[in-house]
Amino acid sequence: MLKIENLTKKYDNYKAVNDLSLHIKKGEIYGFIGHNGAGKTTTLKCITGILPFDEGKVFIQGKSIFDKPMECKAMFAYIPDNPDLYEYLSGIQYLNFVADIYKVSQKDREERIKKYATTFELIDDLAQPISAYSHGMKQKLAIIAAFIHEPKLIIMDEPFVGLDPKATHLLKEMMKEFCRQGGAIFFSTHILEVAEKLCDRVAIIKQGKLVVCGSMEEITQDESLESVFLELEDHESVN
């Protein structure tokens, strides 16, 4: 579903992402773990075409984001770490805007908006301007907008930040269901317990470089993901 080959992104001489290669398959929830400033957000922004990158290739369903950006973007949805949405629009106006861009039919958008907004208990607030939303409400709106066109791949940057426990649980269930139906999710997180319980595979990144990747069993074996992560951090620090 998503193939990253030797991705490198530089800021002047500093390599924020350094020769990163990953492969996320259909039906997989793939966790992307790293400390603050490790290059997770930069990687996600390069994959989604928000940031241009210096070297490497990114393929979505075999299509290059560089050569066919429109076709690739139509297949995925992106949820950023900080849901900076259009504050001058109301929730429903924003969802309609996104639906217009993805050319979602009237019937489908009505059904999906109702379904997801009810699930996240946001339906009554959809007429309110986004500027009146709390951080959590904005995050919920960004999630609904991501599901509105039934993408094949969802790329999420710290999706659980700002969500209340109920919404967190709902999102986890939605993620599992989405992947059961053949979708794929690539998401970054700091919450290792969530990654441990939710992910089929994980990748750990440090200073822009991939430290380790593989299935949860391969990486953790008998230890917790937290111990492995800390161990890898210490090991890298000694090196």
Binding site: P52, K73, G91, Y102, K103
Partner: protein, 529 residues
Amino acid sequence: MKALIKIKILGLLKRTLQSRRTKQSLARTILIALLFVYVIVVFFGMFYVMFDTIIEPFHLLNLDWLYFAIMAIMVVMFSFIGSVFLTEHELYEAKDNDLLLAMPISNREILLSRLCTILFLDYIFELLIVIPAFIVYIRFMAINILQIIIFFIVILTLPLMILTLTMLMAWLVASIMKRIRYKNIVTIILWLLLFGLYMVAVTAIEDYIVVLIQNGQSIAQAIEKSLFPIYHLSLAISEMNILSLFVYLLCAFVPFALAFYILSINFIKLTMTKGKEKKRVYKEKPMKEKGILFSLYIRELKHFFSNPMVVLNGMVGAIMTVIACVFICIYKGDIQSLVAQLPFLDIYLVAIVCIISISMGSLNLISASLISLEGRNLWILKSLPINEKDILNAKLLLHLSICLPGHFLFGIVTSFILDFSIINSLIVIIVPALMTLFVALSGLLLNLWKPRFDWINETMCVKQSLPVFLSMLIAMSLAFVIGFGYLEIFNDVMSMRSYIYAVFVVFVILNVTLYHLLMSYGIKKWKSL
């Protein structure tokens, strides 16, 4: 407390003088410095002439104190108009209120630090008037040390009086804003009223001087009766009256202290209470599908009209065009008789109408800030499957849809009133429309060249941005060149009509070139943002 004041004033200076975190170029620094010098020279010159005119008649009327009363009234008026919205923003809409209130800082200190920022601005406004007034005074009258000391005491304390007034007005504005639904429209109307007042004051300053000189005695009586703090302030300086100085100081300090005390004890309530605006509950309605370009355009439209400051700075020309149409309709008879009296004007009329329309259009600077305004939301457009062409076209459409109706209206109204032929009517409609397209294209390209995403407030994108400034400069220069180009250069070579046709052709060529540039260089730049 010291740190708070320092941060506030540094913030104000940085917002005004510097646009980027990176070092600004020497050219930009020089440009800003020149702009400041220009503004200072214009204001100094204007007030110098005014005070220079009134000093002698007032002296002859034995009304020396009225000179200082006029100076003080001017200071209060200009500072009040200039700082009332900043006061409202600093006191009631500041984004760091939550942060500061959670720190071990008293409400009084927070309030005082905010007031210092406004006070700083009030001093700048005050100096623009007080310095020329002082220079004129010492040139004409003998002045002693005591008078100078009293003068400086007044300069230092007068902004307190202004501050009290702006604090009250800002409280009133904030209270109204919390209760009304259409805040943006009300803010735009209030701003237009203040702007109108300011323009009336500046343009009619010569008339006021004449009125002041002719009615010195009665104005003096009015001030003496109704504006007694100003009267005592003036007496204190002109006659070195210590009792008057004391009365004036009481009038400056007591209301300020009282307003400050009331505000400081109600600070949390005033700043943290949200408006009583009724929550809008969503009711399901059939949704409509829109095309991508139309959907992008509607989003641009909603964004633009969501911020009154962006609206007021961006579409001054469009507002002026509509006002001009109303004036033309009102003074239709006068205009027609003027044209009839000056037959030689007839051949220039089409060009004059075009140039007036073009000049007003040069004040529309909407497109020059549309890229910067995306700010933190840029990720949305960049991650959605939207053709860059559509994004840029939607921005162009916004500029054109706001500015063109005014030009069309102006063209139609003038054509009707001046009885233009169909060809001439088309010229006065199409040529300004082409200029509008040129301003839209050049503004958008300039903003793509130098976007600014480090803003805290959207107003910074329209007020303190190089693309907006350059766009205005280019548009105004072009309007000037078109106007004077004919009179100075092409007058002997071609007829006015041929000249207008030539301008039409030049605009078409320029617009085609710029649009091509937008679709090539512009798209490339957008992708790299």
